[in-house]
Symmetry: C2
Subunit: 246 residues, 2 copies
């Protein structure tokens, strides 16, 4: 037999979830760790979200770009509140689901393609730990520059992430040590989503502490303006540096 | 990173399930199909079982060998009813869990090692689709002979399985066609359990129709005496052929 088929596993999972909230795929890490991953999490109601995600949506202002929008739960919530929001996801299946859920402006693209949109945004929203889309110490500067190139004056990034340090899990601790030994940030995860026979391409997803995030953006057009923590989760606000005064 | 670690994934899943019934692993098929696999199914109460499993337990008599006993739910049920039952599972973790659940006589061995036990049994119980442990058209005769070598006079096999034919699922249909093209029985599955970083060795698990089972045992010391169907599931009773009259 041929093994998994490379394709839009994440999108297929969300499309299955549209019909059956119990649909469950797998997140596979490159050390072989498999974790069941339920579609239901992408279809949660506002009152089920982490409090910091509600906070972020309240603060999103102007023209908003929701990066890694998934099934569109955050974009839909903002749209209903009258916010001018564009949902962005590289998964064709996820985009189809977000449209089916009622999100009006959905674009099929990843964070690396934001500059190609040729538009300006006031708020970049990276919820559901999607600051992780910054990927790695190497990828982050390029991606942050791309967001800056599409930033309206006074633009902000409102991004959620998980601080991976202090995990009591032995597998996670070993993975982080392996990363550190290789000179990577401890929480740089190499992952793929699998759903039934489909497997996404492997991608990097970066869990980092607020301090690591601060270092990561130090040389970028952004500065870490504010962090609110809730357990291991946090919401970071980044603002464009004022170039006129530096 | 190193990918999954070969080990007792099934046992680790059941051991996790002992603490947390929500523990969930993955069954991976060699065509890449991944299916979440919950430990909870191994800890179900009698009234949650398929009716045919209760029927099988009522019919189990004499000294009983429960093959692929998992967390020991069937063995424990029989033991409580005063039946003389031995639970058999090749997974050290599963054996530990069955013992923790209160099963008194648990042996760490697979179906291929039954003859090595040097004991005689009146009933061989293969529930939870465990007729699938017959593996393949090639392996089944040897395994059936091994059971016969450990059979007391008048011994029976009470085995449950799933008829794979007529599955409406396109992936399953394609898998079965691939098997047929290669000369295998349609429902010969190559699987492994994964739990967190652990992956079991790949094993064959044979889903077959009652008719295929009849053909499979034709040249064996066993004959298919009785089949009860419930949807795609069925309970088969096999009896030792009476050699004196043939």
């Amino acid at each position: 037999m041929d093994g998994p088929e490379t394709g839009d596993a994440f999108g297929a999972l969300l499309q299955a979830g549209l019909q059956d909230r119990a649909a469950t795929g797998v997140i596979e890490r490159d050390d072989g760790l498999v974790t069941p991953h339920a579609a239901a999490g992408y279809f949660t109601a506002v009152d089920e979200w982490p409090a910091l995600e509600r906070t972020a949506c309240e603060r999103a202002s102007g023209r908003v770009l929701d990066l890694g929008s998934g099934a569109g739960r955050h974009a839909l919530h903002l749209q209903k509140r009258g916010v001018d929001v564009v949902a962005l996801d590289p998964s064709p299946g996820a985009c189809a689901v977000a449209r089916a859920q009622g999100v009006r402006d959905v674009r099929e693209a990843g964070i690396e393609d934001v500059a190609k949109l040729g538009e300006r945004f006031d708020t970049f929203l990276l919820l559901g730990n999607n600051l992780g889309l910054l990927g790695s110490r190497e990828a982050a500067p390029r991606l942050l520059a791309g967001l800056a190139a599409s930033a309206a004056p006074g633009a902000r990034i409102l991004g959620a992430n998980l601080d991976p340090s202090g995990s009591p899990d032995a597998d996670h601790a070993a993975y982080q040590q392996c990363n550190k030994d290789a000179g990577r940030l401890a929480g740089q995860l190499r992952l793929r989503v699998r759903y039934r026979r489909l497997a996404d391409a492997w991608f990097d997803y970066l869990l980092c502490s607020p301090a690591e995030l601060g270092e990561l953006v130090a040389e970028s057009p952004w500065q870490l303006a504010h962090v609110e923590e809730d357990g291991a989760g946090y919401l970071a606000e980044l603002r464009m540096r004022d170039r006129s005064t530096t």
